[in-house]
């Protein structure tokens, strides 16, 4: 039995994982989600912003991180539109452009937010460092038009926004090292307040910045997205995916325990 377990075909594990995903998704299980301190910190910061404030939202991710980061973006946008906080969105990643524009338009349509009045999508410009530094001097010097080709001078929301001085918070939704670039250049050089929502892979790298206060809040992977949805009282993909995730994690933990027991028992027998 144990020998069979150790030499089990890996495809059986794939089938078990697939079942652990499909069954909870079809049954639609709802497990409780508590809120971690970093997510609460970001939520509280945005909640404390007065009406008419502006946040900058950087969609620095591509399709491979879409499942983790788009629920965060949706929840955050809904919170901003509900509170009349202006959103200046942009991306430093080329394949984030279409994802960002589609997502913003979808949430804006749901919340009746007006393009140019409640939000602006600047689009993409290549060169991460140069874009971040350039916007610190003047946003218009990097983005002369928005994503749809409208001159920034003609956009009502951008009338009083010249550079980071008029931005109350930057939230970077990142799947690579862009958050570090925002901290190194925008926070250090221009004192821009920064928060982040990052993929699970990157969470551990972000905690030192959170501890020092260089980050004003952090959403950690799909768990952070679910927590934020919980805070803004929206039931969406974040909550759904974290519930399914819990079942897969239970399966993985069980497989790790069984695999270790089988391995060590077999080794003991061989000795």
């Amino acid at each position: 039995m144990l020998t069979k377990l150790v030499s089990m075909d890996r495809r059986i594990v794939f089938i078990l994982v697939a079942l652990a995903v499909i069954i909870p998704m079809l049954v639609n299980v709802n497990l409780p989600v508590s809120t971690s301190a970093p997510t609460q910190k970001l939520y509280d910061f945005v909640e404390a912003l007065p009406k008419g404030s502006t946040i900058m939202l950087a969609f620095d991710y591509g399709p491979s991180s879409f499942p983790e980061l788009s629920p965060m973006a949706k929840a955050l946008l809904k919170q901003c539109f509900d509170k009349d906080i202006g959103v200046v969105a942009l991306t430093l990643v080329d394949d984030g452009t279409t994802l960002a524009s589609t997502l913003i338009e979808e949430v804006a349509a749901e919340k009746n937010a007006e393009n140019g009045e409640d939000f602006v999508f600047l689009g993409f410009r290549p060169g991460i460092t140069q874009v971040i530094l350039g916007m610190g001097t003047e946003i218009k010097s990097v983005f002369d038009t928005d994503y749809y080709g409208k001159k920034l001078d003609e956009i009502p929301m951008m009338e009083n926004i010249t550079n980071y001085d008029q931005i109350d918070l930057l939230v970077d939704l990142a799947s690579s090292n862009t958050t570090e670039a925002w901290i190194i250049y925008a926070n250090v050089q221009y004192n821009l307040k920064i928060a982040a929502g990052v993929t699970g892979v990157m969470v551990s790298q972000m905690f030192p910045y959170l501890q020092t206060g260089q980050l004003n809040g952090l959403m950690s992977g799909i768990l952070g997205a679910a927590e934020y949805e919980n805070l803004v009282e929206v039931q969406d993909k974040g909550m759904q995916y974290i519930n399914v995730n819990s079942f897969v994690h239970i399966l993985i933990v069980l497989l790790v325990i069984i695999g270790n027991i089988a391995y060590f028992t077999q080794r003991k027998r061989e000795e």
């Binding site: 495809r11 794939f14 994982v17 697939a18 995903v21 499909i22 998704m25 079809l26 491979s64 879409f66 499942p67 983790e68 080329d94 394949d95 452009t97 689009g123 993409f124 410009r125 290549p126 060169g127 460092t129 530094l133 002369d144 038009t145 570090e180 901290i183 190194i184 250049y185 926070n187 250090v188 050089q189 993929t199 699970g200 892979v201 990157m202 969470v203 551990s204 790298q205 030192p208 501890q211 020092t212 206060g213 260089q214 950690s220 992977g221 799909i222 768990l223 993909k237 759904q240 995916y241 399914v244 995730n245 897969v248 994690h249 993985i252």
Partner: protein, 227 residues
């Protein structure tokens, strides 16, 4: 058209997941298609969102209008084009100029900012909790922590300093790792392992989420579009 897009996405998703059974031509077709489309999309977007608005438009406006201010963009374009000197063996040496500019700019702009963000601020973050502990114990703190929370705070601060010192010792190779140094570096390894474990756990969560999203797409969007 939208239904067609859903079917294409579903077909390509199944092609990629077919690799879980074994390598096959359908998987390789989807993989190559993905790489080709990503590169093509990146190039087109860089031209449309980078070269045209930041280089072409100002130069064209200078040539057709009254102001010649956009012509200064020719200088960086010229240095950028020198990268192509690599294609000619006789002129390869010219590539040193754009590389020198990039390194000079990169180092000049990065070194002070990186030092502040990653060294000075992190050092401050490691030491600062002790000033909080001092203010709490001497009664000079503005906000007094509850005793339970304060105990956890002290343990966290001490653990952080031990972790920093021991982990740095592990990477300090100028002294032979024997005696107390060896013990410190071994404790450093423990902290590193905790860090790697945390990173791995989070990575598993992220990768499983990708799978969940694709299954969600296949079950609800694709099969949902059929029935």
């Amino acid at each position: 058209m939208q239904v067609f897009g859903i079917w294409v996405a579903a077909f390509l998703t199944l092609c990629i997941y077919s690799f879980l059974y074994q390598d096959n031509p359908l998987y390789r077709f989807a993989e190559h298609l993905f790489v080709g489309i990503s590169v093509g999309y990146g190039i087109v977007l860089s031209i449309h969102e980078g070269f045209i608005p930041l280089a072409w438009n100002p130069i064209w406006a200078s040539l057709t209008g009254d102001s010649l201010s956009g012509l200064w963009k020719l200088i960086p374009i010229f240095f950028g084009l020198l990268f192509f000197a690599r294609l000619s063996p006789r002129h390869t040496w010219l590539i040193r100029y754009p590389i020198a500019i990039l390194i000079g700019f990169g180092a000049g702009i990065a070194i002070p900012n990186v030092l502040r963000a990653n060294i000075f601020e992190q050092t401050r973050g490691t030491i600062e909790p002790f000033s909080v502990i001092h203010s709490q114990t001497t009664g000079t703190a503005v906000e007094v922590m509850p005793s339970g929370e304060f105990t956890v705070f002290i343990i966290g601060a001490v653990l952080m300093v031990i972790g920093v010192i021991c982990t740095l010792t592990y990477f300090f190779f100028s002294v032979e790792h024997r005696g107390p140094i060896s013990w410190l570096s071994k404790v450093g390894i423990c902290f590193l392992m905790v860090g790697f474990g945390s990173a791995f756990g989070n990575t598993v969560m992220g990768r499983v989420t990708l799978l969940i999203q694709r299954v969600d797409f296949l079950l609800n969007t694709w099969i949902g579009s059929i029935f």
